[in-house]
């Protein structure tokens, strides 16, 4: 009895706020995957295979939804989070996603991880008109509402981030000669293309060497030696955490000290700078949009404290140094905000509509000044970053909040 009472009061409270915003939403409307009691949310993550380090994102999201359900759910509905292992293999993602959509009948797909994997389901989701929301990849193709109205990214897109580095190099470095190390896949390409666009046609020759590696390569030593010998004085490092750590360490070992720009993908002390060696990591420049939870400067921030409490209760055995946990926490709260705004109209169309009308939402763990704003024509939720430098065991932010200019 008490449970019903609480639910009705919560629903009432929510309804009151929703009614103020959009009066038409009082009526209950459902698409497959939503009901009076639950909302089915689908997800794929690499819990096995060579990208398995990212599996923690899925685990964290699952824990966040468990916390939400323990506290009564969203508008009285529990989230039923169904997540499958796709091993970072595109055909497997297609199958798992078809299972989620056609068999499990989820309302929406949330934070499916990876660029090649999301590419494989991009057309399918839009043909099926099922939301592919807040995907865990920064490729720029996720923000194209004209052609793909059912797909939306979350984090700042790689191309924009790379263009910001390019502009920063052009405005601060005298006679830059740029060396690039990149992973030879979709993600590396996106950063690279964005970077070249940011440099502009006239400055393309500033890139003296572009070296690639495969995820199966044991080391990037050979590439780093080639980059050092190319005479580059600026290094743009497009690598995932393990290779980022290797390259930072190797650069120090061979005595190469360029101005080092590192992609946000590897902005982690726990899995990059500490393994690489803090001394070797000093001064590396990168763009941030989330707080590093282990950075002393955010020790007393309310959202960081809430995150710590959550981790202690719901993921007690997790390693707090892993950046994947705060990524998962932050993105899960963005979906919660969207679902809250949906009120009782849990149709797929309304989910997309609400996702596309976030106005200055401050998701937990985002840097101060960075807010989530979307519109019917803007499917890039986070578009601002701040440049920072590795200093000691934390990041030193410098400059203003930089918004994207490439859109």
């Amino acid at each position: 009895m008490t449970r019903i009472d609480r639910r009705t009061t919560i629903a009432g409270a929510i309804a009151a706020t929703v009614v103020l915003a959009t009066p038409a939403l009082a009526q209950k409307k459902y698409d497959p995957g939503a009901s009076d009691t639950e909302i089915k949310v689908g997800n794929t993550n690499p819990y096995s295979g060579n990208a398995s380090a990212y599996g923690n994102i899925g685990r964290t999201i699952e824990a966040v939804f468990k916390m939400v359900n323990d506290n009564g759910g969203i508008n009285g509905r529990k989230i039923n989070f169904i997540t499958y292992d796709d091993g970072y293999s595109p055909p497997k993602t297609v199958e798992m996603v078809r299972k989620l959509v056609e068999e499990d009948k989820v309302l929406l797909l949330f934070n499916t991880l990876g660029t090649p994997t999301n590419t494989a389901i991009h057309k399918y989701m839009n043909a099926k008109k099922v939301p592919q929301l807040l995907v865990a990849t920064g490729a720029s193709k996720w923000g194209n509402p004209k052609k793909f109205p059912w797909t939306m990214g979350w984090q700042p897109d790689y191309a924009t981030e790379a263009a910001i580095y390019a502009k920063h190099i052009l405005s601060t470095v005298k006679n830059p000669k740029i060396g690039i190390l990149m992973q030879n896949d979709d993600y590396g390409k996106d950063y690279y293309n964005g970077f070249m666009k940011g440099l502009g046609k006239a400055n393309e020759k500033l890139v003296v060497l572009r070296s690639t590696y495969e995820v199966t390569d044991p080391t990037v030593d050979s590439q780093m030696i080639a980059l050092k010998n190319s005479g580059a004085n600026v290094f743009f490092n497009i690598t995932t955490p393990k290779f980022a750590a290797q390259s930072i360490k190797k650069a120090a070992e061979i005595g190469w000290k360029p101005i080092h720009y590192l992609n946000n993908v590897s902005s982690s002390f726990g899995s990059v700078f500490k393994p690489a060696g803090l001394e070797a990591s000093q001064g590396i420049i990168l763009a941030l949009y989330r707080k590093d939870v282990n950075d002393p400067q955010w020790k007393d921030a309310a959202d960081v404290k809430a995150w710590r409490a959550f981790m202690a209760k719901y993921m007690p055995s997790a390693n707090l140094n892993e950046d994947t946990h705060n990524y998962g926490y932050s993105v899960a709260h963005t979906l919660i905000e969207v679902l809250k705004k949906c009120g009782n109209d849990l149709t797929r169309a309304n989910v997309m509509k609400q996702a596309a009308s976030l106005k200055g939402f401050e998701a937990p763990l985002l840097l101060p000044g960075i807010k989530i704003t979307t519109s019917a024509t803007d499917f890039y939720p986070i578009q601002a970053v701040r440049l920072a430098r590795v200093k000691g065991t934390g990041f030193e932010l410098f400059g203003d909040v930089l918004a994207s200019e490439s859109k």
């Binding site: 923690n56 070296s211 390569d217 050979s222 030696i225 080639a226 750590a245 726990g270 393994p275 140094n321």
Partner: protein, 301 residues
């Protein structure tokens, strides 16, 4: 020129990694005639064991020795429990068993120690020495360790009675049994030694590539390539083959980049170094099917 030397040195360092893995592969192959696809994952698991001992604060060398011991026993047990009952099974079934072992070790490591990369200590002092501009102290240490291990194995197989018995058991089990060699136990011993060598290989590799469940996946491929070019029956060939593969891939990328930078023509680069190296290896095999150092096999009809 400067860079060429550096690339060769880096190639030798990577080659040492491949050589160590190839050596462990050859151990099992020589003892049991099987290519152990789970070798990389077993070495990775052993490295986690080393790491776990090291976390207790007991120091590097005691941790490694203890882990080698545990791995040795583990290898022994796997042979006795998993493979012994299958000694008459066709080779394809054995391959599937290895794939099963691979899956088990890989997923267990992830479940026990998580998938995040962990830094792993190097036992070699970080000091400057002649030529340290070309190659780091850990890299030199790795090369030395692989050569020392090879020499020890050479002495063991050539001059100790146990080593001779193991060779006899592998090459001619029937006669060896008649001569009183406990052939079954020799095979198990081969497994144990391979697992212990894997522990050393892992401990040498981990400071460079970091400790994580996938750390050996790529390396095993190169280890196979090294064993392939050197001849999978010969420890010396495996080590040499490992070094060849390491140097070769760097040189391919180096000359590819050089061509690109001087003439602007892109033919090969880092993306193609592995396929090119593999094509070269297959060519070697066609010309000399048992590898550069392999024995010629005689078949009886």
């Amino acid at each position: 020129m400067e860079q060429l030397l550096q690339q060769v040195a880096a190639g030798l360092a990577n080659g040492a990694i491949y050589a160590l893995v190839a050596l462990a592969l050859v151990m099992i192959y020589s003892a049991t005639d099987h290519l152990n696809f789970a070798q990389g994952e077993m070495a990775m698991f052993s490295t986690y064991i080393t790491w776990a001992f090291y976390q207790t604060g007991m120091g590097y060398w005691p941790s490694l020795v203890l882990a080698m011991l545990v791995s040795f026993l583990g290898g022994l047990v796997i042979e006795r429990v998993v493979l012994r009952p299958l000694h008459k099974a066709p080779v394809l079934s054995i391959v599937v068993v290895f794939i099963g072992l691979l899956a088990i070790f890989h997923s267990m490591a992830g479940a026990i120690w998580t998938h995040t990369i962990k830094p792993f200590p190097s036992p070699f002092p970080n000091i400057a020495f002649v030529g340290s501009g070309y190659i780091g102290p850990h890299q030199v240490g790795m090369i030395v360790v692989s050569l020392v291990l090879l020499s020890l194995l050479f002495v063991f197989f050539r001059f100790t009675s146990l080593g001779l018995a193991m060779r006899a058991a592998a090459q001619n089990p029937v006669s060896a049994r008649l001569a009183g060699v406990p052939v079954d136990w020799m095979l198990a011993l081969g497994w144990g030694m391979a697992a212990a060598i894997g522990a050393v290989a892992g401990a040498m590799v981990a400071p460079v590539v970091y400790l994580e469940p996938n750390m050996m996946a790529g390396i095993l491929l190169y280890g196979f390539a090294g064993a392939l070019v050197g001849g999978i029956g010969s420890p010396g060939g495996a080590v040499f083959g490992g070094f060849i593969v390491g140097v070769l891939e760097n040189l391919i990328a180096y000359f590819g980049n050089l061509l690109d930078q001087t003439t602007g023509i892109y033919i090969i680069g880092n993306g193609e170094k592995l396929p090119i190296a593999l094509i070269m290896l297959i060519t070697v095999l066609i010309l000399k099917p048992s590898g550069l150092f392999g024995r010629v096999t005689v078949k009886r009809v």
